[in-house]
């Protein structure tokens, strides 16, 4: 049973990791906790649902949802964060983020109602055995797609021009702008990439659990935030490790302790990390972020 639970945990954790990446990238560059990020994830799940229901192939729907959320993420940044940047304190941007979060979830609740909506079974599911453990094909697909996205993100950050610009901005925003980097464009790109990953996470969670609802982003967002802090906020590999380990710890908590402690585990870890190692697993005290 341990190995099966481990796979359950990794699958759950990969969804946390995909959301945590968005938190960590944005934080790395503008030092903002983008609390609306959970809602972007929720919009990704719904966008994917609409596309799937209109008969689009599931992988094209996944791409569509990612593109939609890219635009949504950029729009949120343009409207709610950019006007505040540099002019007011970071606290105002944080409050603006909370406002956007409430606005987006309520918007979806108005449009779809607060009931849970069924996600159709678009990927035929089968279970197969490896030794004595049973794994569902859906879990394998989710793990593979998540891994692929994370590798893609690493390549983007390490090998491309925009990636280099992002790394520069995370080191020093002002110096980067003096070197001729269009900082606003880099920030916009960061939001776009983070949102696309969240959308992918949202849609895969929808397929995995067959359920989406307007407030799904709130708890997932908080958990992913905890994962990002656990991994070391600002660190991309940290968000991946943080997400996966949080998922595994939660599932193991339910499996061997009690389900009542599920959320408590996530937040107890968050508090412990803040006490013992404030910079997180992968975080460095001298910031070299993204």
């Amino acid at each position: 049973m341990f190995w099966e639970q481990l796979i359950n945990g990794l699958t759950l954790g990969s969804s946390y990791a995909l959301i945590a990446l968005g938190y960590t990238m944005v934080y790395g560059i503008v030092q903002l906790i983008n609390f609306a990020h959970g809602e972007i994830y929720m919009f990704g799940a719904f966008a994917g649902l609409f596309l799937v229901l209109s008969g689009v192939n599931v992988f094209i729907a996944l791409l569509g949802a990612m593109v939609f959320c890219m635009l949504l993420g950029m729009l949120v940044e343009r409207i709610a964060y950019r006007p505040l940047r540099g002019k007011s304190s970071r606290l105002s941007a944080l409050i603006s983020a909370i406002g956007v979060s409430i606005f987006l979830s309520t918007l979806m609740a108005l449009y779809r109602g607060t009931n849970t909506t069924r996600y159709p079974e678009i990927i035929g599911n089968s279970t197969f055995s490896v030794g004595s453990i049973q794994i569902s094909s859906l879990q394998v697909i989710i793990l593979l797609v998540s891994a692929l996205l994370m590798v893609g993100l690493q390549l983007l950050i390490q090998k491309t021009r925009i990636g280099k610009a992002m790394r520069a901005c995370s080191q020093d925003l002002e110096a980067s702008s003096l070197m001729g980097i269009n900082v606003n464009r880099v920030i916009s790109a960061t939001f776009a990439i983070g949102s696309a990953l969240a959308a992918a996470g949202g849609m895969m969670v929808g397929i995995y659990y067959n359920a989406v609802w307007p407030y799904m982003g709130t708890m997932a967002g908080l958990k992913a935030f905890a994962a990002a802090v656990l991994g070391g906020i600002g660190s991309v590999p940290g968000a991946m490790i943080g997400g996966l380990s949080l998922g595994v710890m939660e599932i193991m908590g339910v499996a061997y302790l009690s389900s009542s402690y599920k959320d408590a585990i996530a937040f107890a870890i968050l508090i412990l990390v803040l006490f013992i190692r404030p910079q997180g697993i992968m975080g460095q005290k001298i910031s070299k972020k993204v």
Partner: protein, 393 residues
């Protein structure tokens, strides 16, 4: 300013006010005078707000019963009059309305409310004023304990759960059971001990006890545990959303299991969310089903459909029964005095109502038979699986 003209206007206004007051008194005086000839019953239920879904069909059932009584001989030869205020599902409203029914309308009995919390508010007032209150829906604890004027007629979990567990163990042979509770759901945490006690009494084994939380979607860990515990069936005491998600997960993990629960699973979303995974795999109990009706229920169904062009539900049936049971008690007691006919009411045995057969036990709690087992079958929700008769002790 023309002071005199102003004074005139004031005088006219005063006169108008006095007239309207007199007219108001006149209007009120008429029913008072007729009070000796009609028997008044007050409806307690919400017609607007979040629990209007229970009140609206309840009012229809009550109106239908009163129309039927008046088409015959009424009660003790007197006309019956129902008064229908909307309590909006709010405690302050129901307190005002109950007081108004008792002091102004002088009702002999209150019928409703379908909700436990609201019934308790009204029951305190009714007990104090010695007026019978008959709830057609309150299932929670500490209702009839309020006093000897308080009654209810609905399927209680303490009656239904043992009957269902008996069916599972002795008819289906499901002896090894898993019990899952939704930890942050009060309904679920109250229902689980009732199920556990019944399982212990009927000789079943609990092989796994676990919890989930309402609002979560990840039940992979619980279902993996469930699969390893290999129970014959799963008892889940929570609501339909989580039940559907658990069953979805079970299907993904190739776990073929039946989930049994209470009327918290009674929601259209069970079928919508669960899809194929809940088809004839989720079984829950309820006090009323329009399938395979008894002769009494069949007659009621026909009349209700003809009158309202819609299907009755549990609440319309229970409100209908409440009126008829009250009428029978008054006829037997030959009195419309609540302090007299309440004793007849307490003696009710095997009353063949449209919502099932009702007996009041020694503690005045209703024992209803049969318990309807419902499931999801094709597009039909809910579909009747079986009716289990309950023996009154």
């Amino acid at each position: 300013m023309n002071f005199k003209r102003n004074k005139k206007v004031v005088l006219i206004l005063c006169a108008l006010m006095i007239f309207s007051l007199l007219a108001g008194c006149g209007g009120n005086a008429a029913p008072d005078k007729a009070a000796g000839d009609t028997i008044k019953l007050g409806f307690l239920g919400a017609k607007t707000g979040s629990v209007a879904n229970y009140g609206i069909p309840g009012e229809k059932g009550m109106k239908m019963a009163i129309d039927e009584l008046n088409a015959g001989k009424g009660i003790l030869g007197k006309k019956v009059e129902g008064i229908y205020e909307d309590n909006k599902g709010e405690s302050s409203e129901i307190a005002n309305i109950t007081t108004k029914y008792i002091t102004k309308d002088k009702v002999v009995a209150l019928v409703g409310d379908p909700c436990t919390g609201l019934t308790k508010v009204a029951a305190d007032i009714a007990q104090e004023n010695k007026v019978v209150i008959f709830s057609a829906g309150a299932t929670g604890a500490d209702v009839v304990e309020i006093g000897d004027y308080v009654f209810r007629n609905t399927l209680l979990d303490t009656v239904a759960a043992p009957a269902v567990v008996d069916w599972m163990i002795n008819k289906k042979g499901w002896k090894n059971l898993a019990v899952i509770t939704s930890g942050n759901n009060g309904y679920s945490t109250a229902l689980t001990p009732i199920f556990k006690q019944a399982i212990a009494e009927k000789g079943g084994q609990i092989v796994l006890e676990d919890t989930v939380n309402d609002g979560e979607t990840d039940f992979t860990a619980q279902v993996t545990k469930l699969k390893n515990a290999k129970p014959d069936a799963l008892v889940f005491t929570g609501y339909y959303t989580e039940a559907a998600l658990i069953m979805n997960e079970a299907k993904k993990k190739n776990l073929d299991i039946v989930l049994v629960g209470g009327d918290g699973l009674y929601g259209q979303d069970l079928a919508k969310l669960g899809g194929e995974a809940v088809q004839e795999k989720v079984i829950f109990y309820a006090g009323f089903s329009t399938d395979q009706p008894s002769p009494e229920t069949a007659k009621f169904l026909e009349a209700y459909r003809a009158k309202y062009q819609e299907e009755p539900d549990m609440f319309s049936a229970q409100f209908y029964d409440a009126i008829m049971i009250l009428a029978q008690a008054m006829e037997t007691a030959k009195s419309t005095d609540p302090s007299v006919f309440k004793n007849e009411l307490a003696n009710l045995k095997d009353y063949p109502g449209v919502s099932g057969v009702t007996t009041f036990g020694a503690d005045r709690e209703p024992i209803k038979s049969p318990v309807c087992l419902l499931t999801v079958k094709g597009d039909k929700f809910p579909a009747l699986l079986e009716k289990i008769p309950v023996q009154a002790k």
